[in-house]
Amino acid sequence: MNMKASGKLQEILSKGEFAVTAECGPPRGANSEIVRKKGELLKGYVDAVNVTDNQTAIVRMSSIAACTHLLQMGLEPVMQMVTRDRNRIALQSDIMGAYSLGITNILCLSGDHQSFGSQPDALNVFDIDSMNLIRTVQTMREQGKDMSGFELKGPPAMFIGAAANPFADPFEYRVIRLAKKIDAGADFIQTQCIYNIDRFKEWIKMAREEGLTEKVHILGGVTPLKSAGMAKFMNNKVAGMDVPESLIKRIAGVPKEEAVKEGLKICQETIAQLREIKGVHGIHIMAIEWEEIVGEIVEEAGLLPRP
């Protein structure tokens, strides 16, 4: 990892400290106050804030703009970028634009298919895939060149993230794919929400055996469950999500008004386990539209103060 990008997230990870990031979804509108409010809730509790890019294919304020609002508040953003909506020309242009605004972290994704979103009649792009995007950002940083080989004036030097889903199929291919993403240039990996910790352990063990955890920083994804209904929904309706039956039962087993508390308890247990697993370098908290809980989770986990 020969890196020139220098943000807090990179610094913490390269020092071998345990990182904490959280997710922030931009609003369905142009009100920057909403972004700032979410930013306020996260400030001081996380090392970086991951800003989604039209997540679940629902049109929202652009990730670049929302990242910029957070930057102005002194928060460090991780800009998500999906290949669903932009071709390689637009992607490269936005990477340079984002870096020029001070955004130094990127998370490269393919993106949720538009058929899941609010405008399923849209044309998708998928000119390149997430692997190609990772390589593109790396080439910009390491060689100072765009995809055509043109030498850029002031190449962007982003700290590069990628996603991994240990719970998707085919399982044995998931580690090969992780290795490919690392080879392509990923510096850190954000995983899908972890509920099935056994499967996660199996996956990371395979990654360790291949020496991959030495080459990349893995952030385990966590999302607190609020109810048995949510747990079931995540398991059945969200692509690539694995919530074990025992967890669903556990949440269903407590009185309704206790469900949130139980969900947070499960979340703390997961975080505690993740901290023990060799090769896990941090957590990424995805409390969707529930940013106010992030501070509590981090505090309760004993991960404060942040460096």
Partner: protein
């Protein structure tokens, strides 16, 4: 083959509404095989339209004819007399057939009666699946004979997305995940190394994004 599906009769009725004398022209090649526009479909559609128009109190004369291939002049010629004596032609060929007719008979409206959908295969009786999008630079050799540009909903080149579960695509649980199929096939072929190799961005210039394509075979030009 080219796979297509006949348009709903309500839409066809609207399309032919301005005409009193039309020819339904079938094609005996691809669209015949997928039951969209062969001789049999021409006959069934003609009867249905006659009946529907009668019910609506609309006078219409419908002639039927089917040529072997609507995308080739040599075969179109056989239909010329019938085409010329009608006010309009409802073509049950694929989009290429419709345009081939339109090119040949500029003064007669050529109307589409079929929605051309894809290049595919007959998976089993009555079931057709899309297999190729004619990208102009076939890479099936490295993907175990399964095309991710066409059969993966995200055109992924470097492995399955995070939504692939139990062999099915996240976009449609009825559809196999192309990448699951690719991985299984490469395993059988002993070519798992292909999965580890980075596949660079595709050059789409050979595809439709370079504009409509033309193939010239000098050796066959007379």
């Amino acid at each position: 083959m080219i796979v297509g599906e006949q348009k709903p009769i309500s839409e066809i009725k609207e399309i032919i509404a301005p005409y009193k004398k039309i020819l339904i022209l079938g094609c005996g090649t691809c669209v015949k095989t997928c039951f969209a526009g062969g001789e049999d479909e021409v006959a069934v559609l003609a009867s249905a339209l006659r009946l529907a128009c009668k019910k609506d109190g609309k006078e219409i004369e419908i002639e039927e004819f089917t040529v072997e291939r609507q995308c080739e002049d040599e075969f179109i010629r056989e239909g010329a007399p019938a085409i010329s004596r009608n006010e309009g032609v409802l073509s049950l060929a694929c989009g290429a057939g419709v345009q081939a007719l339109a090119r040949r008979f500029v003064k007669i409206p050529i109307l589409p009666g079929v929605n051309t959908t894809f290049i595919g295969v007959l998976e089993k009786q009555g079931v057709f699946t899309e297999e190729c999008s004619g990208c102009g630079d076939c890479m099936l050799a490295i993907f175990g004979g399964i095309c991710p540009f066409t059969r993966c909903a995200k055109k992924l080149l470097n492995g399955p997305c995070g939504g692939s579960q139990n062999g099915k695509c996240e976009v449609n649980p009825e559809t196999d995940c192309a990448w699951q199929l690719i991985i299984e096939r490469l395993k059988i072929l002993g070519q798992m190394d292909n999965l580890r190799a980075y596949v660079p961005p595709k050059n789409w210039q050979t595809g439709l994004s370079g504009g409509p394509r033309k193939l010239v075979r000098e050796d066959h030009i007379i």
